[in-house]
Amino acid sequence: MSSETKQILTTDGIPLEVSLKKAEKKNKIKAFLLVAPLLFFLIITYVFPIGDMLFRSVDDKMVTQMLPKTFKAMESWDGQELPEEEVFAAFHEDFIKLVEDKREGKLSTQLNYTKNGFKSIIKKLRRASKKFEEGNYKEQIMSVHKRWADVEYWRAIQRRAPEFTGQKYLKGMDMYVNEEGKIVSVEEDRRIHRVLWLRTLEIAFFVTVFCFLMAYPIAHLLATLPMKYSNLLMICVLLPFWTSLLVRTASWMILLQQQGIVNDFFVGIGLVADDNRPEMMYNKTGSYVAMTQILLPFMVLPLYSVMKTISPSLMRAGKSLGGTPFVAFWKVYFPLTIPGIGAGCLLVFILAIGYYITPALVGGASGTLISNQIAFHMKSTLDWSFASAMGLMLLSGVLVIYWLYNKIVGIDNIKLG
């Protein structure tokens, strides 16, 4: 047998491979054009925003660009003693330019993030700088306020030199880089984010568990009832989907508040005293109840779609072979529903971990999640880079869970519908 394969020609004498490519090219272009709108849509609405978010979360160019000469002059400074005159001169030059552009306020805000106390001394420097004489800026600036003579503050400025920084991520974990450049945790009473992360995981986990416990029997019923009843039940499951999320959350507020229907009912049947009504809202309980109800369909549907494919004769076979109904369920039915359980749990957990409206409305102080904190920084403090950093941490958390799931159960084993 010869090692060279003979080139196969078509009846017209064109090499077969060329001919095939030519024939399929048109179809490939057509296929691409069909998916192109979706591809562009995805790039614009998904890839681009996430890329932008990643960029924002580490972007620290603002200060770099405001003090270009200063940072250039600081390159040779070792950070031990106070910097030399040339650093002060460069800083003065940058600062005068900022004052002319009326941007020195932004600088003070930014530097204040790094070290408290910059706001007032920058204000003082602005006023004093109008009367500065040429030369010997080190003396003049140091005389404005004693903090300007403190090496700590110059080190703080130097820390803002890099164009990119990971400090927002550290802040999201209640950590920061201290004066010595070490990563340390903030004082105990100021650690708010770690608590929020843990609470988010905890609430997402329990909401997933509750959803699973409630959805499994419902999905089973849906899959086994005669068509006529299962359609009705399916509508009941889907009805919440067709109602606004806000309306559903608001109705839980009506139900759960202290003078609400559920409490009235408990008082009515004598379960609780009228003057001792339990708080079921503005705390974790509220988040649990409302989120479980809202996320339930996301558990029911994957379970249902898997259960629908399990032939009833399998359970019968299990029983006819001598298994009690429980054994037949546990050894035959349950293992076959695992793809649905995996899909449902993953879906509910991922949705719950980023939930916003419901915990914001019924969660109160102890029932809010990390996404509420993100929203707070987006809307109130306008620290978008911090919000972006936390958003990305959330995203990577979800990816880690996805990866773990793939390791433990296997992603091929998932079935969404």
């Binding site: 004769s313 006819s320 001598g322 009690t324 109904p325």
Partner: protein, 361 residues
């Protein structure tokens, strides 16, 4: 040793699902130990319902079912110890062949070494040694079916139910599986109740066949008797091919009757007709009618060939005979029958003994 003639006994069993229609009516059926009995009938005739009642997945609305002398209506399926083979195999898809077979043994807490022996034996019975570690999805339809049979037998049940087990297989495989199941039955002597709507399957495999229609057993007898001597026109038409003549009895005497058709008279064997004037349907198997009969036959008539269909080993000839344009003849392929040509007039004859005058339904 005497064989228990009433190993399974349906005693006046009625079954209704909706309280309006009886799916099974007054079923009286005895099945002997070691017998291979087939419930045959069109869909909706109640045969599968009977099987499900026996397995315990349905309860009789009235009456009682006995297994080896014990009433079983109140015993749940998993305590009946009846093996079952399902239509779609119902192998557990997440378990290997070995685990599938081990399932009934594990729930019975049979020690592992003993279980392994039983599994080996069951697999060799269906010639699937070496397949123990495969998943059901990796097996062909026929192999899956064998696993299902092996699984239903592995725990040595006294009774095995099979619900159209070969329905999903292609024709050749179905035929070879029929023989295989038949041989397994013969070699281990288990009682088998088999449900099918395929009459050739029933005729090939069974000791006795119960033909179901309309919730009732129409006839319960051995395959040959069922085919040769159907007791009513439903059975005659359901089993095998059948030529029929509708008419009225004009004379009945000496084990023979004359039946007046619209334009002729034929002699038939009175089965369910009693007296002159009864309406009747005369049933005649295609292979019992001959072309140009040499023997003296008491029915000889002329017919015109309307259609000739070649079937390889035989030729089917459709003849317009005595006003019946659908009269079918099966002619073995041999050079002797050269005058079978479209449009020819031919002589056709049969014995009155084979023409069974049945109910007119």
């Amino acid at each position: 040793m005497s064989v228990n003639k009433e190993f399974v006994k349906f005693d006046k069993v009625d079954k209704s699902y909706d309280g309006k229609v009886l799916v099974v009516k007054d079923l009286q059926l005895d099945i002997a130990e070691g017998e291979f009995i087939t419930m045959l009938g069109p869909s909706g005739s109640g045969k599968t319902t009977c099987l499900m009642m026996l397995a315990g997945f349905e309860t009789p609305t009235n009456g009682e079912i006995y297994l080896d002398g014990n009433a079983i209506s109140s015993i749940p399926p998993h305590k009946r110890g009846i093996g079952m083979v399902f239509q779609n195999y119902a192998l557990f898809p997440h378990m290997t062949v070995y685990e599938n077979l081990a399932f009934p043994l594990r729930v019975r807490k049979i020690p592992k070494d003993e279980a392994d022996k039983k599994i080996d034996k069951a697999l060799s019975m269906v010639s699937l040694q070496g397949f123990a570690s495969r998943m059901p999805g990796q097996l062909s339809g026929g192999q899956q079916q064998r696993v299902a049979v092996a699984r239903s037998l592995v725990f040595d049940p006294q009774l095995v139910l099979m619900d159209e087990p070969l329905g999903a297989l292609d024709k050749n495989l179905r035929e070879s599986m029929q023989y295989e199941i038949k041989h397994i039955h013969e070699s281990i002597g288990v009682t088998v109740v088999y449900v099918t709507h395929d009459q050739s399957e029933a005729l090939t495999m069974s000791n006795r066949i119960a033909v179901f229609n309309d919730g009732k057993v129409q006839q319960l007898s051995s395959p040959d008797e069922l085919y040769e001597k159907p007791v009513n026109s439903f059975v005659a038409e359901f089993i095998g091919e059948n030529n029929t003549f509708n008419g009225e009895v004009s004379d009945i005497s000496g084990g023979k009757c004359k039946v007046k058709l619209s334009n002729a008279e034929i002699i038939a064997n009175p089965i369910s007709v009693k007296s002159k004037g009864d309406k009747t349907k005369v049933s005649l198997r295609p292979e019992r009618a001959l072309i140009n009969p040499k023997d003296k036959m008491d029915n000889i008539h002329n017919g015109k060939i309307e259609e000739v269909i070649y079937h390889g080993d035989h030729t089917r000839v459709r003849i317009n005979l005595l006003g019946n344009p659908e009269f079918i003849l099966k002619v073995p392929n041999s050079s002797a029958n050269l005058d079978i040509k479209l449009g020819n007039e031919i002589k056709i004859g049969w014995n009155s003994q084979d023409a069974r005058a049945l109910d007119p339904k």
